[in-house]
């Protein structure tokens, strides 16, 4: 390996000048030094002489090295120590050698660390590297990084611990700085998570305020609803409601405001209360939607147009026949669907109904039907039919929805909403929009009660709260 003449060795075998280089391995500079020597014609004798002139002796190198050297017996008693380390400690050689042990030079924590970790590892592995500990000084402490090897006898018995200590003040300060930075970052993250948590719960409260707490009971009918929130961080723009207009009539609506977030929620709120008020004034579906169109158009003109789609309808239960007359109008919304008791699925088309709030005046047309025992009317927002499904991520679509309903007919309103809720959950990540469902049905003969029942489901992104049924 090192052909460049004899390496200067200290006179005492117990010391170990190359320990600073982590054992006897050659430092990274050795190769290039060899090359430089070769380039100069291999004048090694001159080199050695020159080096020796600068470094008086190996002994001096040991004593004055820029690191602390320490050799101890296996019980820790200091056998040899260099001048650098004595200077750090502020002790004389006589005070230390044979009188003190290495742990004696350490702080209390250092002693604990030496006995529980440093010594066992050194004894078992034969070496330890870069362990942080603090020297106890008369007036304070000195952070050091310690490495150590064992000197063993020919038969493998450990004789000495050779310990090298580097001044680690700068490094420790740097680490403390890093730790402060990490602590600050951890705290900031915790605060951000707490803020997000608060925001989410505020949003959930706000979202609930845009939906009815409970659906009213409609005589001779079963009703059910469900709202799927796509994101806990975002207010959705879907809405629905069902309420009594007068002694004979109930009004319902369901729709979708363009966009998401607080602005959409503000529009949703306006839409909901406008439709409620309009229904009391003139509950004809066309008139209610026309009022909404005017309000939206006038409120959101100019640079921030806001519009929505909606179905608005009126129910007239006929106690004498058990039938329910339905008339409804739609503005740009997917058609309502009637699932007949015999499995037939009809769409209630309302041709010409435009997006609400886009034009100063809008014309809506009304469609009507009669629900008989076992028939259920379903309204939904496009989150359902535009969910991505299957391997090709195609849209779920109206046809699939119709087939889904047909397979379940005759189906009550609660049963239809429940199975559609399961369907929505099955979409997983394919369902990325809020979705509202509202089902209104007439129970089959013998089922339900004259007083009617209402079921109301709400759900977060991935969990479904328990449904509750209004006592009849």
């Amino acid at each position: 390996m090192r052909e460049a003449g004899p390496t200067p060795l200290p006179p005492n075998g117990a010391s170990h000048p190359s320990a600073c280089e982590n054992g006897s391995r050659r430092g990274p500079g050795a190769e290039s030094a060899d090359r430089r020597r070769a380039a100069r014609g291999g004048d090694t004798a001159t080199d050695v002489a020159f080096t020796a002139l600068l470094e008086d002796s190996a002994e001096e190198l040991y004593e004055k090295a820029p690191c602390g050297y320490l050799s101890t017996l296996m019980d820790g008693t200091v056998a040899r120590i260099n001048g650098t380390l004595l200077e750090w400690l502020g002790l004389s050689r006589q005070e230390v050698v044979s009188r003190l042990t290495f742990p004696d030079l350490l702080t209390g924590a250092g002693k604990l660390f030496f006995e529980t970790r440093f010594f066992p590892l050194l004894r078992l592995k034969g070496e330890v590297n870069g362990l942080a500990m603090d020297l106890a000084l008369r007036d304070g402490r000195l952070p050091v990084m310690a490495s150590a090897t064992l000197k063993t006898s020919a038969d493998g018995q450990p004789l000495l611990m050779r310990i090298t200590l580097f001044d680690a003040r700068d490094r420790r300060a740097y680490e403390a700085e890093l730790l402060r930075g990490k602590t600050a970052a951890d705290e900031a993250r915790a605060r951000a998570e707490a803020d997000r948590e608060r925001l989410q719960s505020a949003l959930a409260v706000l979202q609930r305020s845009l939906l009815p707490d409970d659906l009213p009971r409609v005589p001779g009918m079963e009703v059910a609803s469900y709202y799927h929130t796509a994101s806990r961080d975002q207010l959705g723009g879907d809405f629905y409601d069902l309420f009594q207009v007068d002694g004979a009539r109930w009004a319902f609506f369901l729709g979708d405001v363009c966009g998401k977030g607080p602005e959409a929620a503000a529009v949703t709120s306006l839409v909901r209360y406008t439709l409620r008020a309009a229904a009391l004034h003139d509950s004809e579906p066309e008139a209610a939607l026309a009022t909404l169109n005017t309000v939206l158009y006038e409120r959101y003109t100019g640079s921030d147009p806001r519009y929505c789609t909606a179905v608005f309808g009126v129910l007239r239960p006929r106690a004498e026949t058990g039938e329910v007359e339905v008339s409804l109008a739609s503005g740009g919304h997917p058609p309502a669907m009637v699932v007949r008791s015999d499995g037939e699925v009809e769409q209630l088309r309302t041709p010409g109904g435009l997006l609400i709030g886009i034009l100063p005046t809008a014309n809506f047309t009304t469609a009507g039907t009669v629900l008989r025992a076992g028939d259920t009317l379903l309204l939904h927002t496009d989150g359902l039919t535009e969910a991505r499904t299957g391997a090709d991520h195609g849209l779920y679509g109206d046809a699939a929805l119709a087939a889904f309903a047909r397979e379940r007919a005759p189906v009550s309103a609660p049963a239809l909403v429940e199975s559609l809720t399961e369907l929505l959950h099955g979409f997983g990540a394919g369902l990325d929009d809020d979705t509202a469902l509202l089902a209104l049905g007439v129970p089959t003969a013998g089922a339900g009660t004259a007083a009617g029942t209402a079921q109301h489901f709400t759900a977060d992104t991935d969990s479904r709260s328990s449904s509750h049924e209004t006592p009849a």
Binding site: G108, A109, L112, A132
Partner: protein
């Protein structure tokens, strides 16, 4: 729960010999007994293990609550005895494990017949108001805990755990023997349980034959402390090894083995 796997239980030595259960202390794992095992293997059945979370135990079975008190470690000991069907065990506990053995020997499900308390310290913290010197001030212990809790301490504990990776066979050839590998979180919790517990009140309740084994000079288990342990445990013996330091099983394995052998023989003859 597979206790043998959880605690990396290793059984060695003389199959029909009396059982020695060797319990490592804070800071390492069953490698601590490596030098002692050859000296005892021809006479005893030796059971070695790593406390849950330490060494090659199942890290997934560890939780901060159970192992936040010495009772959790004592439960490991009891469960190992039950799993292996051990009876009348001689428990050899190093350092904090001496107190774990004391607790386990007092449990209702005790299988321990005798105790060797190797350099025990039932309370590391000084209690100046009682005139008790455990060896360390609250500041010393706090400093150690802080250095463990501060990340800069991590290289001290994260020995390079290189697991044989089938995709990178070249790693296996460089695989260094790993001793006392530890997860920093486990180390922190174990350190708190070790250095902040006061187990002195448990000593008088020990009812099995007990040997207190110490060295002539021990920075973290002062002689006055082992005197107290000996005094408080009824009928215990006290032996001082011709050795120094806190790890006589490493620094003086022959002398340690001799003392254990003599004690086990004496217990058997009773």
């Amino acid at each position: 729960m597979d206790v043998r796997r959880r605690n990396n239980v290793v059984v060695t030595g003389r199959a029909d010999g009396p059982v020695l259960l060797l319990a490592h202390g804070f800071g390492c794992d069953q490698s601590m007994w490596r030098l002692l095992v050859p000296a005892l293997a021809d006479e005893f059945r030796l059971v070695l293990f790593d406390y849950t979370g330490c060494g090659a135990s199942e890290r997934g079975a560890w939780n901060a609550e159970r192992y936040g008190s010495l009772q959790g470690y004592a439960a490991d000991v009891t469960e190992i005895c039950e799993e292996l069907g051990l009876e009348d065990v001689t428990f050899v506990g190093h350092s904090v494990s001496a107190m774990v053995g004391v607790l386990a020997s007092r449990s209702e499900r005790n299988r321990i017949g005798s105790l060797v308390l190797l350099v025990p310290n039932p309370r590391y913290l000084d209690a100046p108001e009682e005139g008790y010197r455990g060896g360390f001030s609250a500041t010393d212990v706090e400093e150690l805990l802080t250095s463990l809790e501060a990340n800069p301490g991590w290289p001290q504990w994260l020995a390079p755990v290189v697991i044989g990776d089938p995709d990178r066979p070249e790693l296996s050839s460089e695989l260094e023997e790993v001793f006392c590998a530890a997860d920093p979180e486990v180390v922190r919790v174990f350190a708190r349980a070790t250095f902040l517990t006061d187990s002195r009140a448990d000593l008088p309740g020990v009812s099995v034959p007990t040997l207190v084994l110490r060295t002539a000079q021990d920075a973290i288990a002062p002689l006055a402390v082992s005197d107290l342990v000996h005094r408080e445990i009824p009928g215990s013996r006290l032996v001082t090894l011709e050795a120094t330091g806190h790890c006589p099983q490493l620094s003086a394995p022959e002398a340690t083995a001799r003392a254990v052998r003599e004690f086990a023989g004496a217990v058997k003859r009773r």
